[in-house]
């Protein structure tokens, strides 16, 4: 006999659990997927409907919309329906394996009705991944070479001219030397006047006069020697001026050589011109590619993210047992439409072996997609393990990428207008250990170019640039990329660069030489004029100084004669020692 009192409550409990699982599983799965999606993308994830069939392992998700964290009013990705076939056998083994799946109606960059930001401040906090920086960097890479060149040259030359430096030194040294000599001449004059006064004050007392004359003789002798020294100094100064002028000539020759070096425009690199002209255009391509790579690496990190909650114990992998990843998509077909070169394109593709535990997987993770229609593009991405490291390789090949008529360069500076056409774009990026390495090649055939603008101060470029623009039939660009995905470094090489650089060199050489010569002529002229003025002034004043010295000499001779008369000795014997000798003889 059935004990209903015992069975009924337990049956009711089981029934309620069954009801909760049956009705609540789908909402619970939907809620879980939204939470997981929002946690990994940092933006709103919407799922219209989710239905599951546990017995068959089929999961169907309708109306998926993943908002773009950087622009919340747009969707990063939208899909009409996703049908996923769960491997129930693997599920029994506690492995979530999607054996086959299809995501249809994928669209990217669609507009949202509601903001996709999780919190209002998210957009302002997140910023760009690095593409914005790259864009700015690429745009400004070659920008400085044109406007900076001539102005910088002027400053460089001014600071580097030896003649200017020597002239400045002379301009300081000569007046100092001259004033020193002038001071010496004044001293000689004063001493002469002092001697004159001394002779006039001589008393009649012979003993006192003897003492005074002896002193006079010593001072007169010293003054004569000093006068001679000053005269010789003046003569040396004149010689020094001649030597300094030779030094100045040498400095001028050095400056001319410097100008020739500066005017040698090997320093205008073709890369700088390429970066200047093509930086803006290429920045978008490169930053888009690196942004996607970064997003992918963020979603599927090389190493498994640490668990949010502390893990208790360790799951042991038994010997001889395959260590399978906990989450794996064996095959997933994708189909949708996107925007490429401002044109909508349809694409189909497939992903295989998608997992966040690639080391446990026996095959590399791959993504292959290709467009259908007028724009033919192909994307192939592979992630594989090399020992403990993960290596990502992305190859994009677009055979006919439409490019509109566009202006290369800065319209306020030098710019070229390139006709519309189709380009072949090929890019390969490799990332291993956060080291990014790759290149992007762009080739537009049958292109026609014309000069957009030339800066006023470089108007002489116009003809040369016109010639280069009209003679260029193919535009070929190579962008070499290295660094890290967050901070890529780029180097741009194009066929425009060498051609323009050659043309610019020719014209710019003349321009720079003309400017430099004008500059040096102006400065030399000023220096020469100043030196000539100073020299003529010096010579004139030197004559005066010499005149003063001559007068001083004459006065000394006259005084000496007068004193000798008073002493009653010949003037030629007049000197301090001879006076004493004379007295002793008497």
């Amino acid at each position: 006999m059935i004990r209903w009192k015992y069975v009924a409550p337990r049956a009711a409990l089981l029934l309620s659990v069954w009801c909760v699982v049956s009705w609540g599983l789908d909402p619970f799965l939907r809620w879980s997927l939204i939470r997981i999606g929002q946690g990994s993308t940092g933006a709103r994830v919407d799922i219209t409907e989710l239905s599951s069939a546990i017995s068959s392992g089929l999961l169907q998700i309708d109306g998926i919309a993943i908002a773009d964290r950087k622009s919340p009013q747009k969707n990063l990705l939208e899909a009409r329906v996703a049908s996923l076939q769960l491997d129930t056998g693997a599920l029994m083994q506690r492995r979530f394996v999607i054996s086959d799946g299809r995501i249809s109606g994928i669209r990217m960059g669609t507009v949202r009705e509601q903001s996709g930001a999780l919190i209002p401040t998210t957009t302002s906090q997140t910023g760009t991944v690095g593409g914005g920086n790259l864009q700015d960097k690429l745009e400004s890479l070659g920008k400085g070479w044109l406007d900076g060149r001539s102005q910088q040259l002027q400053k460089d030359l001014e600071n580097s001219f030896d003649s200017v430096r020597v002239a400045r030194e002379l301009g300081k040294r000569w007046p100092q030397r001259y004033s020193q000599m002038e001071s010496d001449v004044q001293d000689v004059s004063k001493e002469t006047e002092a001697l004159v006064a001394m002779v006039k004050q001589t008393s009649d007392n012979p003993l006192r006069a003897l003492e005074l004359y002896q002193d006079f003789a010593v001072r007169a002798d010293s003054l004569r020697k000093r006068t001679q020294a000053v005269r010789e100094g003046l003569s040396q100064f004149r010689d020094q001026i001649g030597q300094d002028k030779k030094l100045l000539e040498e400095a001028k020759r050095h400056d001319e050589e410097l100008i020739r070096q500066h005017a040698n425009l090997e320093t205008i690199s073709p890369e700088a011109i390429s970066e200047y002209l093509l930086g803006r255009e290429l920045a978008a391509h490169v930053s888009t590619a690196t942004d996607w790579v970064q997003w992918f690496r963020h979603q599927f990190p090389a190493k498994e993210a640490p668990a949010a909650a502390p893990v208790r114990g360790e799951d042991i992998v038994f010997r001889g047992m395959p260590n399978l990843p906990k989450f794996l998509i064996r095959h997933l077909a994708v189909e949708g439409e996107g925007i490429l070169g401002n044109e909508p394109v349809k694409f189909v593709g497939e992903m295989s072996n998608v997992t966040n535990q690639l080391a446990m997987s026996d095959a590399p993770m791959t993504l292959h997609a290709q467009t259908q229609g007028t724009i033919l593009a192909e994307l192939h991405a592979v992630r594989e393990t090399e020992g403990e490291n993960i290596k990502d390789r992305v190859v994009i090949n677009c055979l006919r990428f439409p490019l509109p008529e566009r202006k290369l360069g800065d319209q306020n500076q030098l710019s070229l207008i390139v006709s519309e056409g189709h380009a072949h774009i090929w890019s390969q990026l490799e990332i291993a250990n956060n080291d990014l390495k790759g290149e992007l090649r762009l080739k537009q055939e049958g292109v026609s170019m014309r000069t957009g603008s030339v800066p006023v101060h470089l108007a002489s470029f116009q003809n040369s640039v016109d010639q280069v623009a009209s003679s260029t039939k193919d535009l070929e660009v190579l962008v070499q990329i290295d660094g890290s995905p967050a901070r890529p470094h780029v180097r741009v090489v194009s066929n425009l660069g060498p051609q323009l650089a050659q043309a610019v060199r020719h014209v710019a050489q003349q321009e720079v030489t003309r400017r430099a010569e004008t500059l040096v002529q102006a400065s030399q002229k000023e220096i020469d004029q100043q030196l000539a003025n100073f020299e003529s002034k010096l010579l004139a004043e030197q004559q005066q100084l010499l005149g003063k010295l001559k007068i001083g000499d004459e006065q000394i001779q006259k005084l000496t004669a007068e004193v000798a008369d008073r002493m009653g000795i010949s003037k030629k014997y007049f000197s301090a020692e001879k006076i004493i000798d004379n007295i002793l003889r008497r």
């Binding site: 015992y6 009924a8 409550p9 337990r10 009711a12 409990l13 056998g89 029994m92 083994q93 506690r94 492995r95 208790r312 114990g313 360790e314 799951d315 042991i316 038994f318 010997r319 001889g320 047992m321």
Partner: protein, 156 residues
Amino acid sequence: MDWQLLSPLRSVLNLIRGERTRHQLALGLALGLVIGLLPKGNLTAVLFATLLLATRVNTGMGLLTAFCISWISPGFDPWCDAVGRGILTYGGWQNQFAAWYQLPLVPWFGLHNTVVLGSLIFGCAAFLPAYYLSQPLFAYCKLDKDSQRPSGESAS
């Protein structure tokens, strides 16, 4: 209001507060101890929880014990981990473990985890001592139906 509609709820409540013999209380406590020690999120814990609900043990005592032990059980993890690791990594049993592990649903029991296996062993080892030692305690505290029965009336 038709009180008959609430009869299933009343039955569930009776399930929790019923079964109050000394034996049933001790069994509830012992099962709750095992459940509390085990890490949750695996079928082993679900199995013991089902056992608690499906058998005539005191469910309330079991749930209360499981709740309290769950709070302190991470403190026993180092010992549980050592015991579980010792067994799971024993060379001679690897092939057998691997064969069991590949059976359907077995991985969901989580017995390949060192702490789950260690906790299970500790829980099973503590089951009988908990059962026998708790009975005098319930009698002393007069929590069981036997102690509350008037003297002279025997237990059914």
